[in-house]
Symmetry: C2
Subunit: 247 residues, 2 copies
């Protein structure tokens, strides 16, 4: 490559995407990690789902590809939220050795574009893909020594999720099934904002939101008092938001 | 480069930063563009200030370097907001020819990380730097055919600026001198949200904000009625915000 020989000062780098896929399992916020086989000592550990970008591929296309390969879902709503490009992110020789083993590429530095996506957690068996194994980790149990800067990427993704919910409240319904209980919705807010919410106040607040529709359906086969189901109405949401934005 | 010969499928790319620097000139929102000399026909045109990243440079460091080179200001508050990496962004042969002339590099594709910064507009002479000429363009007069995807980057930066102001209202004071009039502040909001605001309601709103401090100073040498000056109090702002975030 002539360009590089002419001017080695300029960064000439592989580029990757990494996807932080968040979901709610019961009432815990979780992140999806994939098993990384091929560590130098033969061990396995976990990392964010990600991939180098192909020569003719757009960034968003690459992120969609990674999520489809990981979850089997073709079109997920995803948000590019930050690039990570510190020279130190590939400073750990073990990580570099793994790249060498797994990709057969001699890599010095990788700039990665990080994406965030929120989803419902389905049974694990529905996760398709090229990974040996995928696993939902509750946020508080994420291994502390993920490869590269993946711990930092997850931390930034959690901040971004809060900003996203604030600027676009409907995004929380991505976490929920089509019908959900008030408890499920409240738990999501409690976990996102990391504080308890008063049950009665929360119900009052919910009742002011025209886009949360109570259904004539109740939980079945539960040991506690059966809770009512609600659904999210996107049309009403858009109406309420456009009024809100005008004021 | 052996890596690339082994696997040409994977993107191996130059990486750049591009900075969208926004300021208010009188009551117009403006973006700073720099003159691009060396177009194939000898002409000049404008582009966003930007640079390829050096081999051992972090993304944020590169963006700070570009802003310092462009404005002479060493530490500006800046925000990485999006990466642009479409293969089509380097599809215009004229742009590629310019890169070849200006950088003496044989470049095929560039992934760029875009940054946003808001600032006061000082007299143009204070703009230092490696560029032949820099110029503030009112948003509505930006040339439509900026090189690469710079028009799109500016469009995304304007959206990001609105989100930034919503999530962190103090950021608007970056646009203003230390003391400012109610008119100046109102005009900024009017331009950001692209709608007229009622003068009396705006004053009422301002009075509810404990961090906007009226001064015993008034405009001098003006033909209209002299307006009062205000200043922004960061300590009071942080107090009010932390109360707000608790509720």
């Amino acid at each position: 490559m002539k360009a590089q020989e002419e001017n080695t000062e300029m960064l000439y780098s592989h580029v990757s995407v990494d996807c932080v896929l968040l979901g709610f399992d019961e009432d815990k916020l979780c992140v999806l990690l994939v098993e990384r086989a091929g560590a130098p000592d033969g061990s396995t550990d976990f990392k964010l789902p990600g991939s180098l970008i192909y020569e003719h591929e757009d960034l968003d296309t690459a992120a969609n590809r990674v999520l489809a390969e990981t979850t089997g879902i073709k079109r997920m709503r995803l948000k590019q939220f930050r690039s990570f490009g510190s020279p130190t992110r590939t400073a750990n020789p073990a990580d570099m050795q793994w790249l060498q083993n797994a990709l057969k590429l001699n890599i010095r530095r990788i700039v990665t574009i990080a994406y965030l996506s929120l989803c419902k957690i389905y049974k694990k068996s529905s996760l398709a893909g090229r990974y040996k194994s995928t696993k939902w980790f509750p946020i508080e149990n994420i291994p502390r020594n993920l490869p590269f800067d993946h711990n930092q990427i997850i931390e930034e993704a959690l901040k971004e999720m809060r900003r996203w919910v604030e600027s676009e409240p409907s995004i929380v319904f991505e976490f929920l099934p089509l019908r959900f209980t008030a408890y499920q919705l409240r738990r999501i807010y409690e976990v996102i904002y990391n504080r308890k919410m008063d049950v009665r106040n929360f119900h009052k607040k919910m009742n002011t939101l025209s886009y949360i529709i109570p259904l004539d359906e109740w939980e079945e086969d539960v040991s506690h008092r059966a809770a009512r189901y609600y659904r999210f109405d996107k049309v009403k949401y858009n109406q309420q938001r456009s009024r809100f934005n005008k004021n």
